[in-house]
């Protein structure tokens, strides 16, 4: 019959036998890989520090932990801990069977371990396989996610942008208004409508019409602040949303500038073009507790009144003017176009 010590040597490459004096008398083949030299005849507790469930300082205190799983580390290497089972050898000594536990991935790198350094039944190699496989799969997954996210950002931007002018679109305006509804920020809405645009489009062609819209977008950009939201709501209608800007005088100056620049003669696609603009203004502070969408209606009313008083004008909404176009006197409708 094979002896117990021989059996240990064959089956448990990470075992340590400690004699009754506390000195190490036999180690498994893989212990030498730990970089602490020949452990035989060295005092076990001088090489290892037991961390849990107690911190024994003598061999008898250590022996008291027999039958338990302990956590320990090398005194010279405190960042890799071991797990071990302590067993009394029946002759006053102790046998310790070590394992790396979850630290096996680090241990393999640190100590240059090979499959032979583990017991045949040990799942360490499977664990390493799984760790590498998981890393590769995660990397593929992350790469997909970041590509999808890039595509999502592009799609989101596209969904909120007017393709022709690069300004925001109706959807972006609705989003901004509902965010403003949730906040206490005061803001102004400028609703601008081009005059004579339809005529230009019909007589000079769509290419010129498109160039006019792009020019108007450029004029809007040059006169507004970074935080203002510039929107082409459709056809020849534009909305400028100015968060934090409620000063009547500044809003009037801005409207005058916009009307003046849009009305200046343009030379587009080799043709001389002249259009005009009317603007309706509504300020949230004059309409407390009104939702953004309703304020847009108010700006619409003001725009209607501006047009009625002649082209190239602006008007500022006040509660007296009514909230909806249908509230207005239909008999005095302005000329269309």
């Amino acid at each position: 019959m094979i002896s117990a010590l021989e059996l240990l040597t064959i089956l448990r490459p990470l075992h340590i036998c400690i004699g009754k004096t506390g000195h190490i008398c036999q180690v498994g083949a893989s212990i030498v890989k730990l970089g602490v030299g020949d452990l035989c005849r060295r005092r076990f507790l001088e090489v290892f520090e037991v961390l849990r469930p107690a911190r024994p300082e003598t061999i008898s205190e250590l022996r008291a932990l027999a039958g338990q799983v302990i956590k320990l580390q090398l005194r010279s290497l405190s960042d890799i801990s071991f797990r071990g089972l302590l067993v009394e050898d029946g002759d006053g000594g102790i046998i310790l069977d070590l394992s790396f536990g979850i630290a096996v991935v680090d241990a393999v790198q640190r100590f240059g371990l090979t499959a032979q350094d583990f017991a045949a039944g040990d799942l360490a190699v499977e664990l390493l396989f799984l760790q590498e496989a998981k890393s590769s799969a995660m990397a593929a997954s992350f790469s997909l996610n970041s590509r999808l996210n890039g595509a999502r950002l592009v799609a989101e931007t596209k969904a909120l942008t007017d393709g022709l002018t690069g300004l925001h679109n109706r959807r972006a305006l609705d989003g901004a208004l509902s965010r403003l509804d949730q906040s206490d920020t005061k803001y102004a809405v400028l609703h601008m409508d081009l005059d004579r645009f339809k005529t230009v489009n019909d007589t000079m062609g769509h290419a010129v019409g498109d160039a006019v819209l792009k020019r108007v977008a450029a004029i809007l950009r040059s006169h507004t602040r970074q935080d203002d939201l510039l929107v082409r709501t459709g056809g020849d209608e534009f909305v400028v949303l100015c968060p934090g800007l409620t000063d009547a005088e500044r809003l009037q100056d801005l409207s005058l500038l916009l009307i003046q620049d849009v009305s200046a003669p343009m030379s587009l696609e080799g043709l001389d073009v002249q259009i005009g603009a009317s603007i309706g203004i509504a300020v949230s502070s004059t309409a407390p507790r009104m939702a953004g969408a309703e304020l847009i209606d108010c700006a619409d009313v003001a725009l209607y009144l501006a047009k009625r008083s002649g082209r190239g004008q602006f008007a500022v909404w006040s509660p007296a003017k009514g909230r909806r176009l249908t509230d207005l006197d239909p008999s005095s409708a302005p000329a269309s176009g």
């Binding site: 393999v108 240059g112 371990l113 593929a140 590509r147």
Partner: protein, 199 residues
Amino acid sequence: MHGLIFRTVEAFVSDSFGPEAWAKAVACSDLEVASFEAMLQYDPAHFPKLLNGCARALNRPQSVILEDIGAYLITHQNHASVRRLMRFGGDTFPELLRSLDDLPGRTRLAVSGLDLPQVQVRETIPHHFMISCRGEPQGFGHVLVGLLRAMADDYGTLAVLDHQGVRNGSEVIDVRVIETFFAEDRGFTLARAAEEETT
């Protein structure tokens, strides 16, 4: 069907023959997908169409393409992890062959949802192996032949591999290991970082 399978075909064609060849293969496949994602699932019906398209675009039989894909997975820089994962199967080439029964299980462990055919290995006489693959995707046996040839090379082993066609619904591969330590082993350590430093 797992996107990794499609993505591998795409990577093989693009890396080996250029993006134009891949575009041609897609056009010949009659598929509406221009590029595959590794981490998405696709309709299994795409796979035979894609293989057919590749065969027409590259003007070579499907079996040759599949075999080249197997070799490509082991030898190409971009897939170093596949070679390493295969080397976990055994210290020598014959050991790797004996562990092939576990290949579908190991693969599922690595990427859940990536189902490979059932693999059975019999060592009829020492160093003479019969490998059979049963199940989808069809043609996996050819990939395995390419893959194992490249792995034999990796271990420095001289072996003769032969795909013997389909018998009773299984693809059958005959492997004869002539000399286990024939040439220099490219080497393998359990620790990934250590190996990367030396190569």
